[in-house]
């Protein structure tokens, strides 16, 4: 199968959907000629013209709000938010308006829009351009949250997001834009709420989101060398969350670690771990462990930044503790 970058996969997904449905348009900063600073959208304005690929002023709250109104009236907007950190700027329009409109109107109005943005540290971009803020939107009922972990996932999830009748926030890992993966030529969609088991194993379940899926896979390799069989699962979407697949895995392995690049405290690892603890409690040989980013603003200095995010080594370390029963009496 051909291999393409995550960036190209996103581009293809959007282009294919825009060809299919003229109601779709895309708006954001420097999305047209520049094709975004990450060049993810290059070529789209040439194909679809400036009326469907709209360069906006630097007005995130404004164009987010406009997307809500457009979505309520028959259009299907895709909003490009250059950095995930800017989601703080659009929270009101996203969470007070987009997320609630369908409910508040008793089902009469709907807001089919996609907010595509990114996450991920270690790009030396410091505290305001490195955050992984998916936990915030996951907390708000009415939003769906997708977290692609490869080019293949990015294409399939983006297409599903675009066809969804609800507001969807999709977080791409900005460090993975140039990572290649096999992506079929034929059309495919990846349904929301169906976790992907990347590797089967009976000793411990490693649940990773976005780029942390790679981290889990690398950890699984290292563990395999030591004879430990880790199961690696990518939930793909955290809202909806495919609890069943996760729970069944944990019932089998009796141990789990949840790995995520958002801050650990009050982030998504607590939710996933809690659901596993609640629903597979009597199968657990060790508490479900969590590994999130450190609870510090992302530092600029490479010397510091690199230690703030989960690594395969740290996953392995935690896994071994769980397996050896070293979590007895707590951390």
């Amino acid at each position: 199968m051909r291999e393409i970058t995550l960036s190209k996969a996103v581009n293809e997904a959007i282009a294919e959907e825009m060809r299919r449905d003229p109601a779709i348009f895309l708006m954001g900063e420097d999305v047209a000629e520049a094709g975004t600073p990450f060049k993810v959208l290059s070529g789209l304005v040439e194909e679809f013209g400036p009326n469907r690929i709209l360069d906006t002023p630097i007005s995130e709250p404004g164009f987010m709000g406009m997307a809500v109104g457009a979505a309520m009236t028959g259009s299907r907007p895709i909003v490009d938010l250059m950095f995930g950190d800017f989601i703080f700027l659009v929270m009101d329009q996203l969470c007070n308006q987009a997320a609630k409109t369908h409910y508040m109107s008793g089902g009469k109005l709907s807001v089919p829009l996609v907010l595509r943005t990114n996450l991920g540290a270690t790009r030396r971009s410091a505290a305001q351009h490195s955050q992984s803020l998916h936990a915030l939107v996951a907390h708000i009922p009415g939003l769906r949250v997708a977290m692609p972990s490869s080019a293949y996932e990015a294409k399939g999830l983006m297409k599903t997001a675009i066809r969804d009748e609800n507001p969807v926030v999709i977080f791409e890992d900005k460090l993975m834009y140039n990572d290649k993966a096999p992506v079929p030529d034929e059309e495919y969609l990846i349904p929301f709420g169906e976790a992907n088991i990347l590797r089967e194993g009976r000793d411990i379940t490693l649940i990773g989101t976005s780029s942390m899926v790679q981290v889990c896979e690398q950890a699984a390799e290292i563990l395999a060398e030591q004879g430990i069989e880790a199961e690696v699962i990518d939930p793909r979407t955290i809202v909806p969350l495919d609890e069943d697949t996760l729970i069944n895995s944990v019932k089998k392995t009796s141990r789990a670690i949840v790995v995520d690049e958002g801050h650990q405290s009050f982030g998504i690892t607590g939710e996933i771990a809690s659901r596993l603890n609640e629903k597979a409690f009597y199968h657990l040989d060790a508490p479900v462990q969590r590994l999130g980013a450190m609870d510090v603003p992302v530092p600029f200095s490479p010397a510091l930044e690199d230690i703030t995010v989960p690594t395969p080594e740290r996953v392995v370390e935690q896994a071994l503790k769980a397996i050896k029963g070293e979590l007895f009496h707590g951390a």
């Binding site: 469907r52 007005s59 109104g69 979505a71 309520m72 009101d92 369908h102 508040m104 969804d164 929301f192």
Partner: protein, 334 residues
């Protein structure tokens, strides 16, 4: 009343009078429901500002869109809503426009183009501008009117979207209802400079009109809606008006921020219904009897709707987690 008003449009005159009376009746009944402790929560009365909503909405087709505010009953009625579904909504009943889920502050009537009231001040400026962008994108000639209060001029979002509306010539009209107060604060303590300057900044054409004169409001609106439809928008209108009640139904003792004689002056000399009624009589559009009949009919309508809503049932508790997500079509997305 404005001199330019033509007598020709008999039907429109009657409809505008009727609609203003309907808004007033709706509010009087809502207030009564509140005072009788029959209405859950609080609500914000539109009484006094009727000419604004009616003068503007009379210029709109039903496919044209509006966005509304926390003080939204007037916009809702003016855009064509029915009393029954409105009162049901206010009481949280299943037959309400939003199945009781929205209430007064989120009342919406999509079929008549009302994209909904909004409890975030200024929160609908993006929605309105986006609806205008959507019309352009989909090749429709719909116009959107964004209603908001003087207080909403404090919100930065408005400036962001006015800029984009101007850059892209969107068919949107920003209707700023200047009722002199935002909650308990005077407009001049909240807004530096001229109100219209805030739209002029983006090269948007602005207008100031007496918001108590339904004919003046309507005449200007007809012009601007037509121009916006042709792609000459956006526009900004400052409509000077006044709310008769407190900020909300519970705001009773308000002399510390608003003098009684000011209220009296507006109510007695500038009432949009009284004055338009007098004009209709003077111009012989309607007789006193016909005017009375309108009042009687409307008041009976309102009474019936209230009774209906009081008797109507609440949504079943199984509805509580319905409509969080819209179901995707089968064979479509997950």
């Amino acid at each position: 009343m404005s001199r330019n008003a033509k007598k020709s449009n008999h039907e429109a005159y009657v409809r505008m009078y009727q609609q203003m009376v309907r808004i007033r009746a709706f509010e009087d009944n809502a207030n009564k429901l509140y005072l009788a402790a029959k209405m859950p929560g609080l609500t914000h009365m539109y009484s006094g500002q009727e000419a604004v909503a009616v003068g503007i909405c009379e210029a709109l087709k039903s496919t044209d869109k509006i966005t509304s505010t926390h003080r939204g009953h007037g916009h809702c009625v003016a855009k064509g809503a029915d009393f029954k579904e409105m009162f049901c909504e206010l009481l949280g009943k299943e037959e309400g426009y939003c199945r009781g889920k929205g209430g007064s502050m989120h009342i919406a009537d999509q079929e008549n183009g009302n994209l909904g009231a909004n409890a975030i001040v200024g929160g609908s400026a993006g929605i309105a501008t986006g609806a205008a962008l959507s019309a352009k994108h989909l090749g429709k000639d719909d116009v959107t009117v964004c209603f908001f209060g003087d207080g909403a001029l404090g919100q930065g979002l408005l400036y962001e979207v006015m800029n984009m509306a101007a850059l892209w010539n969107l068919p949107v009209i920003y209707a700023c209802e200047n009722n002199l107060y935002g909650e308990y604060t005077k407009v001049e303590e909240m807004a530096a400079g001229e109100l219209t300057g805030r739209a002029k900044a983006f090269g948007i054409e602005t207008f100031v009109v007496n918001g108590q004169d339904v004919l003046a409001v309507n005449k200007l609106s007809e012009e601007l809606v037509e121009r916006a439809r042709k792609g000459e928008g956006p526009f900004f209108i400052q409509l000077d008006t006044y709310r008769y009640h407190g900020h909300h139904v519970g705001d009773i003792n308000r002399e510390y921020y608003r003098p009684k004689d000011e209220e009296e002056l507006w109510k007695t000399e500038r009432d949009p219904i009284t004055n338009f009624g007098a004009w209709l009589l003077k111009e012989k559009v309607l007789s006193q009897q016909e005017l009375d009949q309108i009042h009687d009919e409307v008041s009976q309508d309102a009474k019936d709707a209230v009774a209906y809503a009081e008797a109507a049932k609440y949504p079943d508790i199984s509805e509580v987690d319905m409509h969080v997500y819209k179901q995707n079509p089968v064979g479509g997305a997950a």
